[in-house]
């Protein structure tokens, strides 16, 4: 390679890197700085360095603590639920059945639709007189408050998020399943192994890489989930769906408290990274 050649890859990368630096890394860095400062509007927007006080405030404030609890509860339910169902769905549509392509294409529908439109449609489905209560009525069951109840609102968001998420993550798992050579199953069948044994000893180990990816990506997506909360509940009723992500938005955009808002975002990113690391460690390959 000549000396001029050395610059060729940087030339090709330049536009993408400039965009990432200016519109992703720079804001992320200034968000980090913001989390260490307090802005006083009384003093005309003067910023004072406060160290970790914004972080202490998050934990000292009952609303902040509550939002951490909501985030943990939401994620402990939604991630295993989505991935378990996605695995089952992928196994179901991986079978050689007549018309399976038709079912697979229809299952893509929720993925193509934007999250805010999905939330709007589910808002009406879960309305007091909506589709869900109409169906419950036909089954002779009492109507439920869903999004109006502090006990059911978080579950309603879990349901809505899974309507999209299960189909989406199943797509990755299905691709993984299709990459497993069928000869492995044939050989195991000749050896007289059962369905469960084949699943445990062939399918799961060979899906490991895909499952790690799905688990990590799903955790990140759900820790930072925002739009459905904004549209369906705005964190209510009684803060029962007020995730840390949503509380950060309320603090920043509605109350203008950028310092605490940024501290919350940093906590969220830190926790997400830690959980991703733990998931990788738990699923590490022995080789």
């Amino acid at each position: 390679m000549t000396k001029a050649e050395k610059w060729v890859p940087y030339f090709f990368l330049a536009p993408a890197l400039l965009l990432i630096v200016f519109f992703r890394l720079l804001p992320a860095f200034s968000g980090f700085l913001e989390s260490l400062y307090a802005t006083s509007f009384a003093a005309g927007g003067v910023k004072t360095f406060v160290g970790l006080r914004n972080f202490q405030d998050v934990f000292a404030d009952p609303v902040g603590l509550q939002s951490i609890w909501v985030t943990l509860r939401f994620n402990l339910i939604v991630n295993p639920l989505q991935i378990g169902l996605a695995l089952l769905l992928a196994l179901l549509v991986n079978q050689a059945l007549r018309g399976i392509d038709f079912f697979r294409s229809i299952y893509l529908l929720p993925i193509a639709i934007s999250l805010n439109v999905t939330a709007i449609i589910w808002g009406l489905v879960l309305n007091q007189y909506g589709l869900m209560n109409g169906l419950l009525r036909v089954l002779g069951l009492p109507a439920q408050p869903f999004l109006q109840s502090p006990n059911q609102a978080l579950w309603s968001i879990i349901m809505m998020a899974s309507w999209v998420g299960v189909a989406y993550w199943a797509l990755f798992i299905l691709a993984g399943l299709q990459g497993i050579p069928t000869e492995l199953y044939e050989a195991a069948e000749i050896d007289g192994t059962g369905v469960m044994q084949r699943f445990m000893h062939i399918t799961l180990p060979l899906l490991r890489k895909v499952l790690v990816f799905v688990l990590v990506a799903d955790t990140v997506a759900n820790f930072l989930l925002f739009v459905p909360v904004l549209i369906l509940t705005s964190g209510g009723p009684q803060l029962s769906t007020n995730t840390l992500m949503f509380e950060a938005y309320r603090r920043g955009f509605i109350f203008g408290d950028f310092g605490t808002s940024s501290a919350m975002i940093m906590l969220l990113l830190g926790a997400t990274l830690a959980i991703v690391a733990i998931e990788f460690w738990l699923l590490r390959t022995s080789d």
């Binding site: 890859p9 090709f12 299952y107 929720p110 934007s114």
Partner: protein
């Protein structure tokens, strides 16, 4: 002799029983699979069918056949275009659609160019900092824009990009997923082709644009689809950076309707259908490309 005949028929009988039992098990398995497939189909389709039906129903009747549920809720009994007409005549939906189409096509064209160039650099060159840069690209695409929305908003305000096409358009152009996908695709193109072109004296940009791009149609279709869906479906960023009505995009127009017109159900549903129909119609014919590109990011 008679005993051997008897044992043979006995084993034949057993074998036949075993085969019959296995066929029965297979049949049951198939039946159960179809029951599950159809149930999931209903979970996916029924809410959407209801949304479509409600958008063609006069507003007073939207909940009429839903509570308690009857089949008529999914098929409007006296269909009307009232909701759609209102959206275009009173709510300026026409402008929102034109804005969104302009934004989406622009993002596809420029986004493809930027991502293909970056993917090419990662696939075919060795350079200092390559791995670090690639990790940065991968991480940035996993972090949704909502996370950095406040500092990004402040940046836009400082640059005077609020309520401008720049603010709406430029920050969303870099897409790590598309860069990653192009890298995977280009990596499979044999190095000899590039070397031969180099020997013939072709410049690197010429190799990318006249040699590589023309043989990369599948990657381009996948990339275009991801970029189009990304900008057609983007909601929170346009809401924050360009709140003025003349920059309204479809997703924002629909979502603002939730707050301002809570009881005009049929218009709400008509807006939702308009916002959803374009990506749905695009994903269906090209689903092979879409699925393959999405899935490849998980496997490799």
């Amino acid at each position: 002799m008679t005993t051997t005949v008897v044992t043979r028929t006995k084993t034949e009988q057993e074998a036949r029983n075993l085969r019959r039992r296995r066929r029965l098990a297979e049949l049951l398995h198939k039946l159960l699979s179809y029951v599950l497939l159809v149930s999931i189909l209903a979970i996916v389709v029924v809410p959407l069918m209801w949304a479509v039906a409600a958008s063609f129903t006069p507003n007073e009747q939207v909940f009429k056949y839903v509570f308690p549920f009857s089949w008529r809720a999914l098929f409007p009994s006296d269909p009307t275009l009232e909701a759609y007409v209102n959206l275009f005549e009173q709510r300026d939906f026409g402008r929102a659609i034109v804005n969104t189409l302009a934004l989406s096509f622009g993002s596809v064209l420029i986004g493809l160019l930027i991502s293909a160039m970056a993917g090419f650099a990662f696939a075919k060159f060795e350079f200092r900092g390559k791995n670090l840069l690639f990790v940065i690209v991968l991480i940035t695409f996993m972090i949704p824009v909502e996370v950095i929305i406040i500092p990004l908003y402040i940046l836009m305000r400082d640059w005077g990009w609020i309520n401008t096409w720049y603010g709406l358009f430029i920050p969303g152009l870099a897409n790590g997923l598309v860069i990653f996908m192009f890298r995977q695709f280009f990596a499979d193109i044999p190095q000899e082709i590039l070397d031969a072109a180099r020997v013939d004296g072709a410049s690197w940009p010429r190799i990318l644009f006249q040699l590589i791009i023309p043989i990369s149609l599948p990657a381009i279709i996948s990339g275009a689809l991801i970029l189009f869906l990304g900008s057609w479906n983007s909601f929170f960023w346009p809401l924050v950076v360009a709140p003025a009505p003349e920059f309204r995009v479809v997703q924002v127009a629909v979502s603002l309707a939730v707050q301002s017109r809570q009881t005009i159900w049929n218009e709400l549903m008509a807006g939702a259908i308009l916002a959803a129909i374009v990506p749905v119609l695009l994903v269906f014919p090209f689903q092979r490309y879409y699925v393959r590109s999405i899935a490849s990011t998980g496997i490799k």
